[in-house]
Subunit: 419 residues, 2 copies
Amino acid sequence: MSLKDNILNLVKAAKKASRELAVISTRQKDEALCKMASALLSRKKYILSENKKDLLAAQNQGYSTALIDRLTLNEKRIKEMADCLLETAKLKDPVGEVIRTFKRPNGLIIRKVRTPIGVIGIIYESRPNVTSDCIGLCLKSGNAVILKGGKEALHSNEAIFKVLQGVLKKTKIPLSAINLVPSADRPAVNILLKMDKYVDLIIPRGGEALIRVVAKESTIPVVKHYKGVCHTFVSDKADLSMACKICFNAKVQKPGVCNAMETMLVHKGIAKKFLPQMIRDFQMAGVEIRGCPETRRIIGDGVKAAIEEDWSEEYLDLILSVKVVKDIKEAIEHINQYGTQHSDTIVTKDKKEAQEFLNRVDSACLYVNASTRFTDGYQFGFGAEVGISTDKLHARGPMAVEELTTYKYMVYGQGQIRK
Amino acid sequence: MSLKDNILNLVKAAKKASRELAVISTRQKDEALCKMASALLSRKKYILSENKKDLLAAQNQGYSTALIDRLTLNEKRIKEMADCLLETAKLKDPVGEVIRTFKRPNGLIIRKVRTPIGVIGIIYESRPNVTSDCIGLCLKSGNAVILKGGKEALHSNEAIFKVLQGVLKKTKIPLSAINLVPSADRPAVNILLKMDKYVDLIIPRGGEALIRVVAKESTIPVVKHYKGVCHTFVSDKADLSMACKICFNAKVQKPGVCNAMETMLVHKGIAKKFLPQMIRDFQMAGVEIRGCPETRRIIGDGVKAAIEEDWSEEYLDLILSVKVVKDIKEAIEHINQYGTQHSDTIVTKDKKEAQEFLNRVDSACLYVNASTRFTDGYQFGFGAEVGISTDKLHARGPMAVEELTTYKYMVYGQGQIRK
């Protein structure tokens, strides 16, 4: 059978399974999730031995330490995967929630009811935990899932998938509710992206290059984020000690992630007081600073000059661009122009100014007096996440079970006809 | 200036205006809507004289009576357009609504707040009232709008647009909040559809051919419906007199619209009792029936044989396909296979069976004991509509002001950093 026929059969079966899964009880879903968590733990030897194969291949290919770290499973990480499934089982089932009920003058009662989306395709790179996290979130939200992982994690993903699908055999959930594309190659992605008759949503997770390809090729709606150029604006009305801790955390605690700060904006009224110590702290932590002319005037030669491209760069590294702005208006305009509508923070003691920032900055997650690092499904209390959206349609910010649902209108009549 | 530069300037100005419009007060928006309604009435002579030019051209081109009817304005229709703006002014402002507030263990308070989407492009055909309806709905929901009407309605759309934009000059709302693409030609559409940096959402309204072109060409997210193949399932537990009225209304009252019934499914247990009179009623009203073998066995030669293509055909005309099914399961499977996820009805007195239909049919609007013709923004109590979505992402069913919004998270901290 050709790869295309193979994938077509997979998505057709998934569509069929999704219709069953949409009406399966919360209890059945939660029991399956708990059994899956147990299965991951009881089969960990098998999973780790398959993961070894991927790690060996990655070492032979000379992949980076960062990639090998993302790929590596160990007892602790398998325990975390199992815990994530148990957390997902505890979440409130979004399916069937009555979002709104209204009655029309002609007696029609209209209920807006939350439903699964249907079949969700998830395209990801080298983290094997994504396999079980996404199976858990899709199952809980009543969606069939088609997973397409990176070729680096081929054996790990297949092992995790087999263990979890094995569990379904002992439940009323159809086996085709969860699916792994039987090829880790790129052509499989391009085939999957055209299956708009059967797949309702594509979520790509990974680097910007992967996501751009998916967005360009897909005839299925895609919810995504390309990158996170996140800002912290330190107002002249900020508690400067708090500002210093927030900025340091947002840049240094985990620089390689999308919710890390890439640009710090500083009000000119406190720049001379705030910048010298702040930049010393950053430099002590190994952060390279790229500053605007005013920043360099204050700090001197220790700071590289920022060029225009720096303001839209997602460094994902210990690099920070710094700009002194004349007021909150300039800060807001800078963020709306150069930002990626991901996560941005204002540090200020002035509530009115804070609210202006929240209202006028056009990003998914806006913070007052907190680190941008909190943009995360688990941190938001959503249990886990299938990704973060910087799109404006359907979902913004961390996406978990509620964001994997749509709704339908159920209209109850007594014979009404249109006049 | 080239057409492309012209449109680029338009969408850039619209993006800028959208940021102002997002924070303008409900009162200012509502006052502008009321003034717009007055202006339509006081300038009706001008609008009607411009409409005459379009009508004359349409007659010279030999366009169909149906198209000329859609294009025609008169005092009554202008009054309806004005009333729609007044109704929109009365709607609750969706912007700023706090959808959910939650507090995290670390003290962060997270508010999910409804916001405008930004800039919305609406591509439509020959109805001039769409111009004012969409301006009203977008303004109320805080979105800048780019309108691209059909060339048949060029003069009418420009006249309505000028009258409404004239009103903005006397308000604090930026002029670029509302825009009409200065060309009615197709190339303008293709240019607009690539402006993903500035336009956040495209809503195409019109025939399936137009919508397919838009969905294929657009690099901006599109919310749409291609067609409405709507079903009524008459159960063996139906009140047959009610079923007869509902089916007749769904097919005959306005056959040329997307929420009209195209296929009637009848339970075999009541087919012999129900079909003869029902089909006589339809035939008296000039409806051509295309039946399955069982329907023809019951009715005889008066009924044409349905072919496979009939089950997925949107007739938009006095034609109806009829199928006898053995049970509700077959009815549900038929609808999920051949339907377009628009609007489907079950007629039954059995509540359990009704709920099974509501749960298992995968359509935007599902009815029990009512006509599919109610799928409409005004009928749902949404004031008006910018369209109906059969997509599953972002919005389903009638789309009005709430469906023209997205949300952002506003997170209030006291210095929290990520551990």
